[in-house]
Symmetry: C2
Subunit: 313 residues, 2 copies
Amino acid sequence: MGFCLGVDLGGTNVKMGVFYEDGTLRDKWEIPTNRANSGASIPRDIAESLLERTERLGISAQDTLGVGIGVPGQVWPDGTVDAENLGWERFPLIAGIEAATGFPVAADNDANVAAAGEYWQGAGRGYNSLVLVTLGTGVGGGIVVDGQCLSGAHMSAGEIGHVQVEPKETLRCACGGFGCLEQYASATGCARMAREELHKTSEPSVLRGLRDIDAKAVWDAAKAGDRLALRVADSFCDYLARGLAILAHTVDPEIFAVGGGVSKAGQLLIDMTREKYRSLALSFCRDTPIVLARLGNDAGIYGAAAMATQKLK
Amino acid sequence: MGFCLGVDLGGTNVKMGVFYEDGTLRDKWEIPTNRANSGASIPRDIAESLLERTERLGISAQDTLGVGIGVPGQVWPDGTVDAENLGWERFPLIAGIEAATGFPVAADNDANVAAAGEYWQGAGRGYNSLVLVTLGTGVGGGIVVDGQCLSGAHMSAGEIGHVQVEPKETLRCACGGFGCLEQYASATGCARMAREELHKTSEPSVLRGLRDIDAKAVWDAAKAGDRLALRVADSFCDYLARGLAILAHTVDPEIFAVGGGVSKAGQLLIDMTREKYRSLALSFCRDTPIVLARLGNDAGIYGAAAMATQKLK
C-alpha cells in the first residue's frame, strides 16, 4: 500500500502526518513555523522534516504518493499562496516543496482541508457530502461534495462565517459586513452576547463574578443551569441553525459536522442547534444529521493527506 | 456530429428540442401535456413526438446521443419522479421513455435543468460555474459547478427561494418557514410589498389607480420614476442581493444569471441588485457578474439536451 503525507501549516506550528493510502495514520509530529524572513525557509523546513521522517519509517520515495498541505490563506491556481498571517503574497509554496522533496504537492485553504479530513476519516466517513462548520475565534467552514471541496470561483466557497444571518445588525463584522454568522456563533461572538446580556439586565448569573468571560465559561454556566447563560447559548445555537439551514437550501449536504474550540461545549450545543435547525429547514432536509466533528486538531493533516491521495494518484 | 434531444416537461405543455452536440438548436416544438389518467400517457406522448420529429429531420437512431428531460418535481436516484403538479409519486418516467425510444434518458428537476441550459449555451457560456436565480411566481434556482448541477443529498440544493433573508418576518412562506427569499423577490412578493407600501402611506403613486397590482406594474412604475414603486423595487433588489451574497459565500459561482418572468424588468433590476450586492459580498467575490439570463423559456430544452450530452455520452 502507498503512503501519503499530510501537512497542516499554521502560524505557530506545522503539523505533519504520514498516512497509509486507506486513511490509517502511521505517524504524526510537529515542528515550529519559522516566520523569520517572511517564512522563506518554510518550504525547506517542511520538506526536510517529511524526508527525514519517511526515511526513518522505512518508506521509500516510490511508495510515497504525494504531499497535501493546508495553508492559512488562499491558494491560487498557479500554486502560489497568499497568507496574511505569514506575510505571503503569491508565495511559491507548492513549487518549493515539490523541488525539495521530489513529490507531487497539492495545497488548499486550511478550512477546506479540514472539511476534506472529516469527510475522509472523520464525521463524514461513509457519506457522499459534508459541510464542516468550525466554531473558533471566528467561524470557518468547508463544503465537500462527491469527494471534491468546493473552492469557488474566487476562493470564497464555504465562507460560512460570512453568511448573513442578522440583516438588522448595526455592529460591523471584521469583513466589513453586518450580521455575519461569525459575529454570533464564534467564541468571540458568544462572549460578546454574554456581556451584552449581563449589561441589559441585573438578573443573577455566575457569569457576573468573572473578570473575563469566554465561550467556555458561558457554556459551562449554561450546562450548570444558569438561566442567563442558557439564553446566550440559545441565541448562539439559533444563529448557527440559521447558517446550517441556509447551507441546506444551497448545498444540501448529507451531514453537517461542527468543529472548532467552541464545539467542545459538546452534545448540548448539538442538541439545541438541531432542534432549531429542524424548524428552519425544508422538510426534505430536516433530518440531515448534525454531529460533532471527530478529528479535532488532526482534521488538517487527515484532509491534506486525502488531497494527496485524491488529486495526485 | 451527434444529436441530443431536450425535453422540458411542464404542467400545460411539453417543450422539445433537437440539438447538435455542440449546442446549436436544430428544431424545437411543443405538445400539450396530457394530464388525464395521472399523466400515464406522458412517457409515450414524448417518445412518439421525439421519434416522429427526428425521423422527419432525417436523424438516425445511431446519431442520437440520448434524451434529457427536466421535470417539475424531484427525480430519485432510481429514475422515478415525484411531481405534485402531475399527481406523480415515484412515477417511472425515465424507464418509460427509454423503453419507448430505445435512447438513454437522463432527468433532473426543471430548475436545475434551466441552470444547466444557461451554463451550456446562455449567460454562463464560457464560465466554469453559474448560479441561475429564477424570479417567477416563486423563486427557483440551480447551481452548476464544473459542469455538474448540485442536486444535494435530499434534492434541496439550489432551493434558493427558501434561503432565509429576513429572520424577523412574521408572515409564513408556503414552505412553512419565515423570511424566505421567495416571500420578497418573486412576482407575488413584489406585488405584496407594493400593496403594503400603498397601505402604509397616502403618498401618491400610479399604482393607486390599479385594480390588480402585479410585479410588471410595479417595475413599469419604478422605471417611470414613481417614488413609491421605486422603494418597492429597491426592497426587492435588496432581498435578492442578500440571497446572491449568501450564494457567493457558500458556492461562490463565477457568474450569477437572473431569469424568470420578473427579470423582464431588465437592466434596472440588474443594476440595482448589483449595487446592493457589492455592499454585501466579501471583497474577493464583490465583482462577480450579475447578468440577465439569455435563453428565456428555452433554457429548459437547452439544459435537458446538455444533460443528454454530458451524462450519456
